[in-house]
């Protein structure tokens, strides 16, 4: 047997090592319900220990290199590149003042949103506490888009915390070590984030493809999706707060496995290839941090100064307005001033006066109870000004009903032959000549 082992010892060592590793792989992979294989979401104790050792070996030198790079950059920025710092400082101070005012408005909106959500019994996650961290290293593998940051569980970090930059989301914390943490980037194949297209409001799941580009998968083909559309976090994954920028649509491709589905390739908003400083969202509780409250107080103070200035301007304009000539009549009471007369903003339009009034003219209809109109009726009509002096009030009802009601109201009278004026017409017309002229537009009102 000895010659066999000696002769094939190289091959046997190779097979032994391969067998050991394959057994180790088989332990780490499990079958899911749909028959597929997947890795455990959380590493087992043994695997985690191996990762911890590897991280402990690599992280200190990486931190050292990173600190050296930062030191050199710091040296350059603080001692060698101080030109225009004073003017930049003034510009920044102005920007800070402006941003404080804007922040006050935004925080007011946030407060209102919280109140409304409380009314709706719906809790939305907002970012209220973040921890800044430096990206110190990566996995080194093209197919594993993870990187390491220099903050860990000692700094309050935990698994599944969202990692963002000022530009957009970056990923989530996959594993936490005491002084470092592993972040799974959104362009990894095993990542997942709920996103929504801003314009079309189409929701989907974001994950990386083989080329390391994030894409939205499992959405039905939709021609409304155009290049350049903004993609935001949807907030349904319990990791990323809603509304954070993800990127913009790069292009749309058909799902190679399903024709009716498409993959929307995304250009990420955050520079995933050149990450330096990131923010880890450690708290999304709906409360304001002391720093936020301090900023709000400062903003309120700034707003108070601004409000005082606006009040002074308003007072000065009122003084100027009093000195200027206006349409104020000192002889009229205040409620009848032309500028303040709002009693009848739209005057009632009256029909013009009839040129030849007859019995059908509004106000001239005889009273049915009085029977036939006697010759003295014009005098009575003249004595009762209410029947003729206010034709406008009766016109709307009498004008349409007059021609139909008149024969019924005058059963004894003879109908006038067509085209021939009646004798009563001149009589009825007589008293109206003595009435004062009326404004056809209802000017007496």
């Amino acid at each position: 047997m000895e010659p066999f082992f000696l002769r094939y010892r190289n091959l046997l060592v190779l097979l032994a090592l391969l067998l050991a590793q394959i057994i180790g792989l088989a332990v780490q992979v499990r079958r899911t319900g749909d028959g597929r294989s997947s890795l455990d979401a959380g590493d087992s104790a043994g695997v985690r220990l191996v990762r911890l050792w590897a991280n402990a070996l690599v992280s200190p030198p990486e931190k050292l290199i990173h600190a050296f790079g930062l030191g050199a950059e710091h040296l350059w920025q603080n001692y060698l590149d101080l030109r225009d710092v004073r003017s930049q400082n003034q510009e920044l101070q102005k920007t800070i003042d402006r941003l404080r005012l804007e922040q006050a408005a935004l925080l007011e909106d946030a407060k209102q949103g919280e109140r409304l959500q409380a009314l709706d019994s719906f809790q939305e996650k907002y970012i209220y506490k973040t921890v800044a961290a430096q990206a110190i290293g990566s996995s080194g593998s093209e197919q594993s888009h993870v990187f390491y940051i220099d903050k860990g569980s000692a700094d309050g970090l935990d698994r599944d915390m969202a990692v963002i930059t000022a530009d957009g989301i970056v990923g989530k914390i996959r594993d936490v070590f005491p002084r470092s943490a592993q972040v799974l980037a959104i362009n990894d194949q095993s990542s997942g984030a709920g996103v929504i297209l801003e314009t079309t409001r189409i929701r989907g799941i974001l994950r990386g493809n083989a080329n390391g580009q994030p894409q939205i998968v499992d959405i039905l083909a939709d021609k409304r999706i155009q290049k350049g559309e903004v993609v935001l976090t949807a907030g349904g994954d319990q990791i990323f707060p809603r509304g954070l920028p993800v990127g913009v649509v790069d292009r749309v491709v058909t799902d190679p496995e399903r024709d009716s589905f498409i993959d929307v390739l995304i250009t990420p908003a955050a520079h995933l290839d050149r990450l330096d400083e990131v923010l880890v969202i450690t708290s999304t509780q709906p409360r304001f941090s002391p720093q936020d409250q301090q900023d709000m107080a400062a903003s309120e103070a700034l707003k108070g100064d601004e409000a005082a200035a606006i009040k002074e301007q308003k007072k000065a304009s009122e003084v100027m307005a009093e000195r200027l000539p206006g349409l104020i009549d000192p002889n009229l009471p205040p409620d009848q001033q032309p500028l303040h007369d709002s009693s009848n903003p739209v005057p009632v339009a009256h029909p013009p006066q009839a040129l030849h009034p007859d019995r059908f003219t509004p106000g001239n209809a005889p009273d049915p109870a009085a029977g036939e109109v006697p010759p003295a009726a014009p005098d009575a009509a003249q004595a009762n000004p209410s029947s003729g002096s206010q034709p406008g009030r009766q016109e709307p009802a009498a004008a349409p009903g007059g021609p139909h009601t008149a024969p019924a109201s005058q059963p004894a009278s003879k109908p006038a032959p067509p085209g021939k004026p009646t004798t009563a017409a001149p009589r009825n017309n007589q008293p109206q000549k003595n009435q004062p002229p009326k404004n056809p537009q209802g000017g007496n009102n």
Binding site: Q21, I65, S138, S144, A210, R274
Partner: protein
């Protein structure tokens, strides 16, 4: 085949290195592999641990040493990633074994052979990663020829510069 075959009239030359080099060079390769992508971004088409594995396996001409070094480097890489520990380990174990086995039979002093071997072994290693992930483990693992090819080219270019530098560390018998 004077170029490819080892000179049979003299014993193949086996190099020795200081123990510090055996410890520090692989560690430096692993650290740089984890740190350099921070600078190079999406153009990280290289695999320094594989290049170092191939170098030591070729020059030591010991399949067992090459196999162990490949396994250690691959497992370390897996530990830094979020993949299952062993995927790269299997690939680099085979790569180390093949490099050492070939090193016994060819003239590894020739730079062209070194570059060609690096290129081929990079392709073999990437193919093994895909094979283990997709077929052995049945994972949803997407890959692209583009990345595999450019990684092999990148490894060859790095080897072109790195191998002469590492040659200086050797202690000749």
């Amino acid at each position: 085949m004077p170029l490819l075959a080892a000179d049979t009239r003299r014993e193949p030359q086996t190099r020795r290195y200081p123990m510090l080099a055996y410890a520090l060079v692989p560690l430096a390769a692993l650290i740089l592999q984890a740190w350099l992508p921070q600078l190079t971004g999406r153009y990280s088409w290289f695999d320094l641990p594989l290049v170092v594995t191939v170098y030591f396996a070729l020059d030591r001409r010991s399949p067992i040493q090459g196999t162990f070094m490949g396994a250690a480097m691959g497992l370390f890489e897996d530990a830094l990633s979020h993949h299952a520990i062993g995927v790269n380990g299997v690939a680099k174990t085979v790569a180390g074994f093949l490099a050492a086995s070939v090193g016994v039979r060819v003239d590894v002093e020739n730079h062209t052979i070194r570059l060609a071997l690096n290129f081929l072994l990079s392709l073999v290693s990437s193919s093994l990663v895909v094979f283990v992930s997709r077929f052995l483990l049945g994972l949803d693992y997407e890959w692209s020829w583009f990345t595999v090819l450019f990684t092999a080219l990148g490894n060859s270019l790095i080897a072109l510069v790195l191998f002469p530098l590492l040659d200086r560390l050797a202690v000749r018998d």
